[in-house]
Symmetry: C2
Subunit: 216 residues, 2 copies
């Protein structure tokens, strides 16, 4: 039986809807009283695994799930050994550099050299400033990154921005975009090549379903 790893949080609802479109029903994960992390689709075709977004590629990389849905940001940050299959066209957001609105910085290169940049995405942040050949110190935080500039610990942050509300509420503005992100369908490379559990058929259906949504 196929196993699909689904991400908790922002992308869950749309992930479940797109799988429903191709005949896999994991809507039980959306019940507010649900505490189960593993359920079997009502048609008995596949198992769903509900895990943290960052853990989706881990389950897929280790072959515990053959398919997974996860944000491109996680793939860019962790670089897991998985096959990237379909851009699912939902969960649009962007990885941005932001600073205090009251600061004088209006582009990444205007930041003070050897200044500090706080981020949960330390690899993305490091690669970006490296590509600019601009030396900064990356401060690894695990949450509330906006506190970096507010407390004065860092001049800037690198974080995922969707509506921009959190930035506005904290008096921050974006000054550069590293890349755009959306939800992606990923697969365990060997399972994909061997077409385990008729995986290719399902992937094709999902691809067509996404295309039809865009056409409308």
């Amino acid at each position: 039986m196929l196993t699909v790893a689904l991400p908790k949080g922002e992308l869950l609802k749309n992930s479940i809807h797109i799988l429903q479109d191709v005949g896999l029903d994991f809507s039980a994960f959306l019940d507010s009283g649900n505490r189960q992390l593993q359920i079997t689709d009502s048609s008995g075709q596949a198992k769903g695994l509900l895990v943290r977004a960052q853990d989706v590629p881990v389950y897929v990389e280790y072959g515990q799930a053959q398919l997974g849905i996860v944000g491109y940001d996680v793939l860019r940050e962790k670089k897991p050994q998985v096959a990237h299959l379909v851009d699912l066209q939902f969960g649009h957001c962007r990885m941005s550099v932001a600073v205090k609105k009251s600061s004088p910085y209006r582009s990444a290169l205007e930041l003070p050299p050897h200044g500090r940049v706080a981020s949960k995405y330390v690899n993305c942040a490091r690669e970006y400033f490296y590509s600019l050949d601009f030396p900064v110190e990356i401060v690894p935080l695990s949450g509330s990154v906006e506190l970096g500039p507010i407390t004065g610990m860092s001049e800037a942050i690198v974080d995922l921005v969707s509506t921009g509300r959190t930035l506005r509420e904290n008096g921050l503005v974006e000054i550069a975009t590293l890349y755009e992100s959306t939800a992606r369908l990923i697969a365990h490379p060997l399972s994909y090549r061997l077409n385990t559990g008729h995986l290719l058929e399902l992937v094709e259906k999902l691809r067509l379903s996404v295309l039809s949504t865009i056409a409308v």
Copy 2:
């Protein structure tokens, strides 16, 4: 003015109580409606910073907070450059190896060599098995680590155990303890040496307050 970094979650309530005992009131962080991450104590002596537990040592290491309260588990995992000052004697828990109750493994050395161990504490797990000279593959997860053995992705987990309820609910049992953990008072080393903002006085008061609690 002194800044104290406080950890969100399990340790927050006791952290606030112990600071109240020495005259610093950050109880506003406990109001259910509170959204502020930075408040000044009502006596105007110090500022409180409410951050994720893993971020407490980051704020202290970078000198943005002179003092912080955090679990020993975080200090063992991240090894930040901070001064360890006082064992605050609350938040007792332990870092343990656990396996499925139905598995044949009853000690760490009985695990299959080159087997998999899932953990959020990858450094602690790696060091432990290294100290046993026992080769395992560490699978880094960020949440719901108990899914590792349940899905069959890993033979064991290394995780923080307090009451043991999560393990029991998931049919897992502890087979080894890496170390015991409690909440710790930490300081920015230079601020501590220079006695910034009469920090030493506050640390001494906290030490006495902990001792008097134990005596009772």
